[in-house]
């Protein structure tokens, strides 16, 4: 008996439907598997099982801690927090029953009415209330200008940027202090006369009318003239009396001081830092020595001692009765300090450049300044954006140190607000520190994100 095998042959003419990927590869499950469970599901050997178990343990621990902290923070800031003090009872609004208030015992959360009451003090310090519009106007101008320069799709960015660096400081100074500085018309008009003649000499000597020696120095003479005349015009501008009430820097405080110190430091430190870095790598021995000494000196002293020197030592050397502004002293200290740090960051960028770039620039016949401006610096600065922004952020946070010389910066004003016994409660200090931390975080995080955006934009060619 033979069996007959019937063999059917199938030849597929239509392509089979693609099967959906396994459930654990897609969607929520897939994501969870890839990011969470893939590291803890391998039990094929003793070692791997051990590793998987350990991973599972760490993951659980991480989630537990993160979750409880986030829940605590949200509860502290939003859910349990006291938001209003409608009856004006101040500190009793944030008291528990045992303390004499209405909140349940064991309550522990933010006391926001305290912040609302102190908001003016923490933002503006003792600045006169009737004049706050001046600070606000300065802030709005600054914000609009800054956004205009930062957002790359807006027109006239270069012009706005130049205005922000030249016109804006003058406007800000006049608005914040009230302008109407004292000026001696006679001396300033004679200074203008001198500078005009300097410019004339410069022009004449450039054309060679005044002999070969002066021709060499024509540019310097002209530059001196222009510097002098712009200084005098600036002083004249600042002396215009717009009828604003003068507000001394002793009345500034809070976020205002923090921003004034940080922005001045940031704006001045970059150009000065670049010049110092170039000076340190210069072939001219004197320039190199001066820049190196400057950088090493300012890097070698802590900012806190610079500020102490500026506020405690300088007045002792000056004759009694002669005093210059405490804020200006602090600003100068911060500027010199941050410029030295910036110089080293920029030097890092300069040294990272390929030697070929320098040589190519020279081979094209560019002068030193042209090659720096057109070839070297654009590349070098792009290299070190993270370092530059790092210095900016560090500087922004270092401004809190000015509170030790008696300037009420954001943190100082917050600390001083804690001293108000009419708001004293166990959560008073925590609330104000939390608020200050949130403001600092907003600024620093903003700077950090913008730097990342710039990096991506500028270094597309080199991004990995």
């Amino acid at each position: 008996m033979t069996q007959k095998f019937q063999q059917d042959v199938f030849v597929r003419t239509v392509e089979a439907d693609t099967l959906p990927p396994p459930a654990k590869e897609t969607g929520v499950m897939g994501w969870l598997w890839r990011n969470l469970f893939s590291s803890m599901m391998n039990y094929s050997s003793f070692g791997l099982s051990f590793k998987s178990l350990l991973m599972a343990l760490f993951t659980a621990l991480f989630f537990y801690i993160g979750f409880t902290q986030i829940v605590f923070l949200i509860d502290f800031i939003f859910v349990s927090a006291v938001w209003s003090d409608p009856t004006g009872i101040k500190r009793e609004a944030c008291w528990t029953v045992t303390q004499g208030g209405a909140l349940p015992d064991g309550w522990h959360a933010a006391c926001w009415p305290f912040i609302f009451a102190k908001l003016k003090f923490v933002i503006y310090g003792p600045y006169p209330i009737d004049e706050l519009w001046r600070v606000n106007l300065t802030g709005i101008f600054g914000l609009v200008g800054l956004l205009w320069v930062l957002l790359s799709f807006l027109p006239y960015r270069k012009q706005v940027g130049i205005a922000m660096l030249t016109v804006y400081p003058v406007i800000a100074f006049m608005l914040l202090t009230g302008g109407a500085g004292k000026i001696d018309l006679l001396s300033s008009s004679s200074m203008i006369l001198i500078s005009l003649s300097l410019i004339t000499i410069g022009r004449l000597s450039k054309r060679g009318f005044l002999g070969i020696i002066l021709q060499e120095f024509a540019n310097i003479i002209g530059f001196l003239g222009w510097a002098l005349i712009s200084y005098e015009v600036l002083m004249l501008l600042l002396s215009i009396d717009f009828g604003l009430e003068p507000v001394g820097t002793g009345d500034w405080g809070g976020l205002l001081i923090t921003l004034v110190v940080a922005i001045t430091g940031i704006v001045v430190s970059l150009p000065v830092g670049i010049l110092l870095a170039l000076g340190r790598r210069s072939d001219m021995p004197v320039a190199r020595l001066l820049c190196t000494v400057f950088i090493e000196f300012w890097r070698g002293v802590p900012l806190i001692s610079v500020l102490f020197m500026a506020s405690v030592m300088i007045p002792l050397f000056l004759p009694e009765g002669v005093n210059f502004d405490k804020l200006v002293r602090a600003l100068i200290g911060v500027m010199l300090f941050s410029a030295a740090y910036m110089a080293e960051v920029v030097r890092g960028g300069l040294q990272a450049m390929d030697k070929g770039q320098y040589e190519a620039a020279e081979a094209m016949g560019l002068t030193y300044w042209q090659s720096m401006r057109l070839i070297i610096l654009p590349q070098a600065l792009t290299h070190v954006i993270p370092g530059i922004v790092n210095t900016f952020i560090g500087l922004f946070k270092d401004t809190t140190l000015v509170s030790i010389i008696g300037l009420f910066d954001l943190l100082g004003a917050g600390k001083s607000a804690i001293a108000d016994a009419s708001w004293s409660s166990p959560v008073q200090a925590i609330t104000i520190y939390l608020f200050v931390a949130l403001i600092f975080f907003a600024f620093c995080f903003g700077m950090s994100r913008y730097s990342i955006y710039m990096e991506n934009k500028l270094s597309k060619s080199r991004s990995h």
Partner: protein, 355 residues
């Protein structure tokens, strides 16, 4: 031709430069004059400025702290306001310089401020070696101890082996060390930089006792989770007479500050308040008349107007009013008068008479 042009320009520049340099020299001389003046007379400098520059703390409840609107208040601030009222007849002509404890004497010595009214303890070193003069005492403080009631201690002498919380870098640290050594007790110092950290640590139970000036204890106690469970021990282990300070060598200004404070204390003794000062001016009591300037020329002898004390009292109030408004039992600090009561009521405030 070129040479002539150049010579002409050089002449103009030279003349201009000489002019400016001359100008500059003159300015320098003027600055020196001002400096000399201020060294000899703070009063003239203050009058020229139009305000009193007063050094205060960076925030100490009841003594000098900024209120919600950012205005300075407190008993130290009232001394500054009193001086302004005496000098200008307007207590609002004061500007405040908040100072840390490290900066305060430099600020005074350098002329940055005219008077330091910043809860400063009067000690011999400060009085003799720093070129400063203490113009009086506006608050007698002393270091004390705060303990939880649950600890069951009735006296500081029962605290052998205690963990003591205090702030670093102040005399409180030294005082407490002296006290424990003197009494042959062991202790463990837990020190923090910030007052808030000390309170938080004490509240969390990291130490058994919290020590600082008694006015400070009163202020910090309100920040505890359960203030009623804590008590201040009876011992006072140090003397801390706090008062306004001026530069040495300017007796007129020194007298103005000293008598401003005395006028406030005398006014309380005579029952003159900010409310009734105007009507008391023609009182029968000659002592009141002398104080309020309706009799005699006491203000002029200080270089002020004769209604100097009238201005202080009507605008700032007497010492008792200032005390009640800022540190007294009806304020968050709830400090009883204690030794800061008038001598006639059992305290030690005793102001020399005006006659």
């Amino acid at each position: 031709m070129n040479k002539i042009l150049m010579a002409a320009i050089a002449l103009v520049v030279g003349a201009g430069a000489g002019f400016v340099v001359g100008k500059g020299e003159k300015e320098v001389v003027e600055v020196e004059k001002v400096a000399e003046k201020s060294a000899s007379s703070t009063m003239d400098a203050v009058k020229a400025k139009g305000h009193v520059q007063c050094g205060v703390s960076q925030g100490l409840p009841g003594f000098s702290n900024a209120d919600d609107a950012g205005n300075w208040t407190g008993i130290d601030v009232d001394v500054c306001r009193g001086i302004a009222a005496a000098v200008f007849g307007d207590s609002s002509k004061v500007k405040y310089t908040p100072l840390s404890s490290k900066q305060r004497f430099t600020a005074l010595a350098s002329g940055e401020i005219d008077v330091l009214s910043r809860n400063t303890t009067w000690t011999m070193t400060r009085d003799t070696q720093l070129g400063l003069n203490f113009a009086g005492v506006n608050y007698y403080d002393g270091q004390g101890f705060l303990v939880p009631k649950s600890l069951g201690v009735k006296s500081a002498l029962e605290m052998d082996g205690a963990n003591v919380c205090s702030q670093t870098g102040t005399t409180t640290e030294l005082n407490v060390t002296d006290f424990f050594r003197e009494n042959g007790m062991k202790f463990n110092l837990v020190a923090f930089e910030e007052a808030d950290a000390v309170v938080a640590a004490y509240d969390a139970g990291r130490c058994d006792v919290y020590t600082t000036d008694r006015s400070g204890l009163a202020a910090q106690r309100t920040k505890l989770t359960n203030p009623d469970e804590h008590m201040v021990l009876p011992e006072i282990i140090s003397k801390e007479p706090l008062g306004p300070v001026v530069r040495q060598g300017d007796d007129q200004w020194f007298n103005i500050v000293r008598w401003t404070l005395r006028a406030m204390i005398n006014a309380e003794e005579m029952g003159i308040t900010s409310g009734n000062a105007k009507s008391k001016a023609n009182d029968n009591n000659p002592a009141i008349k002398r104080l309020l300037g309706t009799e005699g020329k006491f203000g002029e002898e200080l270089g002020l107007s004769n209604d100097w004390a009238m201005n202080i009292i009507s605008q700032v109030g007497n010492y008792g009013e200032s005390y009640e408004a800022h540190v007294g039992p009806n304020t968050p600090l709830k400090l009883a008068r204690g030794v800061n009561e008038l001598w006639s009521k059992g305290g030690i405030l005793y102001a020399a008479p005006i006659r």
